[in-house]
């Protein structure tokens, strides 16, 4: 059976993990490589690393960061942030990414997805969509939610997949950072609209939220603060999720 992936997400700015990370036993909790490795040891199924650097200079650290993370990490690594051309994705893949996610650049230039899929394969090409609820539908937002695009999120996800995206990273802009649970309606609408894997993001606070997300159609669940704040270790969370009946990769204690 294919298991539900539990994915810690690290926001990285200028080569350092942002948001207060409280992690026991790390020499440097701000170093992406060390933190990612610690999550692997706990049983994380994948790591997503989003570069939120605002400047070109900040982004210069990105390749070096990916290289350092890859050296230690033997689980899949998805990188997002700053990819505008297939060449950008190529550099990240060469440095050690297994998948590359694109968000606002694909909104501006949807063909970016087909160029990436053609060159690297759909299994490397992740469409990241931030959606905000507007009445009875969801609208695509970009630039950290500051800019509404007027695009219908469900139509966009269908188009992105038809262009070659092999996975959807779906973030509810309304729920992100609120810890009030994933937007289950959004998740269900998207997972019914496409036949590629969907990663739920935005709002996770409890194992129950993750069970609900899987019931709504998610193939993987992403969380950040509940791990970074030390509320849950990945293995403790997985134990609860397995007890609740989810198919989970168990990690032998060693």
């Amino acid at each position: 059976m294919l298991t539900t992936r539990i994915i810690p997400c690290l926001d990285v700015k200028d080569g350092r993990v942002v948001k207060g990370v409280k992690f026991q036993g790390l020499r440097d909790a701000g170093a992406p490589a060390e933190l990612a490795h610690a999550y692997e040891t706990q049983g994380a199924d994948e790591i997503i690393l989003l570069d939120v650097s605002a400047t070109h200079e900040g982004r210069a650290h990105q390749i070096d960061t990916v290289r350092r993370v890859r050296e230690k990490l033997s689980i899949p690594l998805t990188i997002g942030g700053g990819v505008r051309q297939p060449e950008d994705a190529g550099r990240l893949l060469d440095a050690g990414a297994d998948k590359v996610s694109v968000n606002s650049a694909a909104v501006r230039d949807p063909e970016l997805l087909s160029r990436m899929a053609e060159r690297f394969g759909s299994q490397c090409t992740v469409i990241s969509i931030d959606g905000a609820r507007v009445g009875d539908h969801w609208e695509v937002v970009v630039r950290g939610g500051r800019e509404k695009t007027g695009m219908d999120a469900i139509e966009w996800v269908k188009r992105a997949v038809s262009l070659g995206a092999g996975e959807v990273l779906l973030t509810s802009w309304d729920r992100d950072g609120t810890r009030s649970g994933y937007d289950l309606d959004f998740l269900q609408a998207v997972s019914e609209a496409v036949r590629v894997p969907v990663i739920a993001s935005g709002g996770a606070n409890t194992p129950e939220h993750m069970v609900e997300a899987v019931e709504a159609g998610a193939d993987a669940v992403l969380a950040a603060s509940i791990f970074h704040d030390g509320d849950w270790t990945v293995d403790a969370l997985k134990e609860v999720l397995a007890d609740r009946g989810l198919c989970i990769r168990s990690v032998a204690k060693g």
Binding site: T3, R70, S74, P76, L77, D94, F120, Q123, G166, P197
Partner: protein, 210 residues
């Protein structure tokens, strides 16, 4: 006792990323040499056929590098250590639904087929791997979880090979082995400690096989 080699030769198929594969060998204290040099590949004691990308592009590349015969002979004899990953496994077949009309290496009398449309494809994630007929002399000895990123697969373990299965909708071939050849549909290099252990067993080789 056998030891791990100092070096493995990885065929530069050039289609996509293999940084994870390089990093995994480095963690095992083996130097990976990424090359398209026919002589080096022909002489390699430990050879890796990595696989990301499409079946047709992969075969085209092997033909351009004039490696088809070398690989076919090597894989049919199974004497020297060869490790095929993901598409690398599918290339052993006669062909694939992914690239109709393109002839594969033909070491296995079968075709790679796409997963059912009822499933989410590609299969992305961790699936349980269950060895079908393991014994003390097989590389695939223990059950575990492995990471997959594939849309195509083999349905049954070919005759004359041993293997392991996973289930996605229906059972499919997780990995096969014969002699010193190990071919995995999943990505051992991305399968954490379990994957590293499997790679190490392939590197060390089995004393019983010589």
């Amino acid at each position: 006792m056998n030891k791990t080699p100092e070096q493995v030769v990885i065929i530069r198929t050039g289609v996509a990323n293999i940084a994870s594969m390089l990093a995994a060998f480095e963690r095992l204290d083996v130097t990976p040499l990424l090359t398209e040099d026919r002589e080096i590949i022909a002489d390699a004691d430990h050879l890796v056929l990595p696989g990301v990308g499409a079946f047709g592009a992969g075969m085209k590349r092997l033909e351009e590098l004039n490696l088809v015969d070398i690989l076919r002979e090597r894989l049919i004899s199974g004497e020297r250590a060869t490790f095929c990953v993901c598409l690398g496994l599918q290339l052993l077949c006669q062909g694939s639904e992914e690239s109709p009309g393109v002839e594969g290496l033909g070491v296995i009398e079968d075709h790679a087929r796409r997963f059912s449309d009822a499933l989410r494809v590609p299969q992305l994630g961790w699936n349980q791997v269950v060895p079908a007929d393991a014994d003390a002399n097989t590389f695939l000895t223990e059950e575990g979880y492995a990471y997959y990123a594939n849309s195509y697969r083999l349905k049954s373990i070919p005759e004359g090979w041993r293997g392991a299965r996973s289930t996605y909708g229906a059972p499919f071939v997780a990995a096969i082995e014969r002699g010193n050849t190990l071919a995995c549909q999943f990505h051992p290099e991305l399968s954490s400690a379990w994957g590293q252990a499997l790679m190490r067993r392939w590197l060390v080789g089995n004393p019983a096989r010589g």
